[in-house]
Symmetry: none
Subunit: 254 residues, 2 copies
């Protein structure tokens, strides 16, 4: 029987000598022979087994699992099919990784996190430092505030543009509903209210229907909000507040 020493095996299968020692240590692949002077001697059978190990290893399967599947007494074809499946899923993961990198690259190229000036340009008078400070004083120690700060901090200019667009869209829905003469308790107004809530929930902080009521009340009570709304359409602030309450009632009733 022709046998091979560690070095030869290492060259043949593209692994290091240390790796073979390691596999021997943990009992994953013990050479079936030893020379008189203690040299490891690998037979053909050892080689085929090692071949399997190498394939599994390239799939980043942990060694104990490899030992398990090789010990399971399956035929070679079963191993190969299993290996194939593992490779394919790994391929999928790597594909996702590539697209993730691509997205990161894209963002790196065009849109670094938005600066304060860019925000002002976007939101105009609606975005004021002093207002920010006041808000922090009022809400600063709440979870919602922290969550909001954490998220918005990472938003890029593009993100903000999209958020702004969504806000405008929802506001347009409110205006349309109001203009059409539908009451604030109507289906369209409630749908808009729900979308408004969802949007805050998605982009800023967890917001349930109960807390949304308080926000709605504030839109009326706080002149700066009321003014912003009423500039879009007279009476809109109150209308939005009522729609929010109606929507919250509906979800509470269910």
């Amino acid at each position: 029987m022709t046998t091979f020493t560690v070095g030869q095996v290492a060259d043949l299968l593209g692994v290091t000598v240390r790796t073979l020692h390691h596999y021997d240590e943990i009992g994953l692949l013990c050479p079936s022979e030893r020379s008189a002077s203690g040299y490891r001697l690998y037979t053909q059978t050892d080689l085929t087994r090692l071949q399997q190990v190498v394939v599994y290893r390239r799939l980043e399967m942990p060694l104990d699992e490899i030992a398990a599947v090789l010990g399971g007494g399956e035929d070679a074809a079963a191993h190969l099919r299993r290996q194939r499946e593992v490779v394919m899923t790994r391929l999928g993961e790597l594909n996702e990784l590539v697209t993730a990198i691509d997205r990161a690259l894209e963002r790196e190229m065009s849109e670094k996190p938005a600066t304060r000036d860019e925000m002002k340009e976007l939101f105009g008078d609606g975005f004021k430092d002093e207002y920010q400070q006041e808000a922090e004083q009022r809400w600063g120690d709440t979870d919602a505030w922290k969550q909001s700060q954490a998220r918005t901090n990472a938003y890029t200019k593009a993100d903000w543009e999209q958020i702004k667009a969504e806000q405008d869209a929802v506001n347009a829905e409110f205006v349309a509903a109001l203009r059409s003469g539908e009451p604030a308790t109507g289906e369209a107004a409630m749908a808009a209210a729900e979308r408004a809530r969802q949007q805050i929930h998605d982009h800023f902080y967890d917001l349930d229907h109960d807390f949304h009521r308080k926000l709605g009340d504030m839109y009326v009570a706080d002149l700066r909000f009321a003014q912003t709304y009423d500039e879009l359409a007279p009476g809109l602030a109150q209308y939005v507040r009522d729609a929010i309450h109606a929507n919250a009632d509906r979800h509470a009733g269910q």
Copy 2:
């Protein structure tokens, strides 16, 4: 200034507390404040930095390199491109591995016709009896269907393995073309489309370019096909469809 404790940060960014401790230890991300009692307090600046770290980590970049990127010049884009290449290389390796496994499988295969169970094992969810039946209802009275049935009945397991491998190879070509940024009307994409057609033609039923268009359209229209393709790469279904049409156009023009 709003600050966050380890637990909050961990929840927000989906890492463990120990990881934050580790990043602090190695100096990759040290919280810029500490409470009187020694609690780590992370500021928003820390959060944005950590977010960068998390992103890079998802790309399997070692921590010291991440430190280099975040600490050194602003050349994050270059690093991302390098990472992309690394991942692409691994993708290539895995593709080679797949074909190697497929060749090994082919050798292992016996000559007996494949059973239904074996087919399922091979094609996974892509092969469903109900889908087979639906296909028969839709196409059962066409020549193509009969031809396909006649041929595939005689195929051995080894045959199926090879067909699957060929399919995967063609799909890989499409993915590569898509990734490279080449349009679906490009040479590589059209070549892949032609190979796809040729393959169906060889293994299943006579398929000319005109009918191939309809198949392509179905890849987009039928969610089951679209999903299978888009799992390989987002937008692949549409890309394949367009490549098929472009290829058909070319052959019609000649």
